[in-house]
Amino acid sequence: MINLRDKGADLWEGWNRPKRITFVFALLVVISLLPFAGNFSFSSFLNTPSASYQDVLVYPIGMFILMALGLNIVVGKSGLLDLGYVAFFAIGAYTDAILTTKTHLNTWQVMPIGIALAMLSGVLLGLPTLRLRGDYLAIVTLGFGEIVRIVILNSSITGGTNGVASIPNPPSVLGQKLDLNHSVNFFWIVLVMILLVIWMIRRFTVRRPGRAWEAIRQDEDVAILMGVPILRYKIWSFSIGAAIGGAAGVIFAAKVLVIAPDMFTFNVSVLILSCVVFGGMGNIWGVVFGATMLAYVPQRIRFITNARELVFGLVLIIVMNLRPDGILPRKKREKLSARKEKSA
């Protein structure tokens, strides 16, 4: 089966700098204009039938992409199976909900606090558990996700089952309002966040942390023999992933205005993990694509109502059977070598 990722990489490597810049710029323009696609006849097929298309772009699509990128660092890059990722999203969301309703802080001021709290919980969870391997880690993280949800469900400050309502919208950015009537602006904010995260991940990946994660994923014992302090790098991976989940949570709460514990169930962890696996573990573009599809398609086919999830599930099973490494898998080394040899 053809490897789209390698095809794309081939094309990209063949281009010179101006060509690449033009391409990225054009792509960004198209993506930023996506919220208006529903208004034109040639692109109206993108419209989601029973939900506001512009809202769908922010949630679930934008949120899923952010979370999937964060989880991909943990699962895809470092090979740590985290089944409780939703916990960090919840921590971010509740940090924003509580602080913006109970103090004078606004969303942007809460953002670093939410990220820090998510990271901190990532470290606290990671310190004792990242010594565990494989299945054990999966079980413990699954438990962590549930514990966070149950704590939220049972404390008074989080509003218990009712959750938190009347969460304020973020203050305007560059004179652009961020409220119910301006989903487009939310989309652009989320788009900027996604681009920042991608930029950050790419920087990490080509540097020492990326090498360390890669080594840990491929063979933990050998990584130790190379002198990689594996616990430290696993905790970094965990807390960076957590930070991204937390950031997504903060913006999520500020967008939807009401949050409740049932938005943060185990299902979300599984769905985000599916985005990563479906798109192609370890590859940023695959993950972005996977998250987009898994967030968008169920909204697009809402008209088939009850059978929707069944159809969706079947499609997932079929696709994963045809492409077990995901739609856009991580780069295939043999081809890479061929390319480098050609240019060498």
């Binding site: 890669e214 080594a215 023999l225 190379m226 080394r333």
Partner: protein
């Protein structure tokens, strides 16, 4: 540099795999540890490099007990292991694997080219395959890569776990020749082998390990002629 193992015991759960062994590797030596399957050779090496915990006893490196030094820091001390079954990173290229061998070196940028050339000098095949994925190398090439990679850390003592495993006779001779060459360049070597014939020919001294105990210590050349050893580890001696 002197590596001394004192009364070492290692457990897997309740099973005692190493039952109080002692041995010495002096600077500049090739010492070989010979034993049948399950004798505890790999366990011994893993314990020296820190992958397994010591239950009791000491690992003295230049007189200092390193048994509580974290594994990843033992590389900095000068202990480098080439793991059993080659243990390379299959998804990284040959070059990336070699670079990983220098992961913890403070001067890695300065040393990199020089040491790559040194490894390529020992194993020209690796240079030809520099951009090929480790996992797609042949068994012998993977073995070369594992040894070359462990040299990238500029070790004082090199721990080799069955470098001849699964290789054709010609390749085995080649690998052992290079082991001698590495030793001549000043690297002390602790060599674990089942291929006793080759190991004893190359080593200065040898220890025989049986189910977690050292049962014999001698000059390698003497063991080659020891009838009991020939019987147990060299087959009929028809090699």
């Amino acid at each position: 540099m002197r590596l001394e193992i004192k009364d070492l015991r290692v457990h897997y759960g309740k099973i005692e795999a190493i039952k109080g062994i002692s041995f010495v590797v002096n600077e500049g030596e090739i010492v070989t540890l010979i034993g049948a399957n399950g004798a505890g050779k790999t366990t011994t090496l893993k314990t020296i490099s820190g992958l397994r915990k010591v239950s009791s006893g000491q690992i003295l490196f230049d007189g200092e007990d390193i048994s509580n030094v974290p594994a990843h820091e033992r590389v900095d001390l000068g202990i480098s292991q080439s793991p059993e079954g080659r243990g390379i990173f299959p998804g990284m290229t040959v070059l990336e694997n070699l670079e990983m061998g220098k992961y913890n070196r403070k001067n890695r940028k300065i040393e990199m080219n020089e040491d790559l050339e040194m490894v390529y000098g020992l194993f020209p095949r690796l240079k030809e395959r520099a951009f090929q994925a480790g996992g797609t190398l042949s068994g012998g090439e993977q073995q070369m890569l594992a040894i070359g990679r462990s040299l990238m850390a500029r070790p004082k003592v090199l721990l080799l776990d069955e470098p001849s495993m699964g290789l054709a006779p010609q390749m085995i001779a080649n690998i052992f020749r290079i082991i001698t060459q590495i030793n001549k360049q000043g690297v002390t070597i602790l060599l674990v082998e089942q291929n006793a014939q080759q190991a004893l020919q190359r080593a200065h001294r040898a220890y025989i390990l049986e189910t977690g105990n050292v049962v014999k210590e001698a000059k390698a050349a003497d063991l080659l002629n020891d009838p009991a050893v020939r019987e147990a580890y060299l087959g009929t001696g028809a090699h």
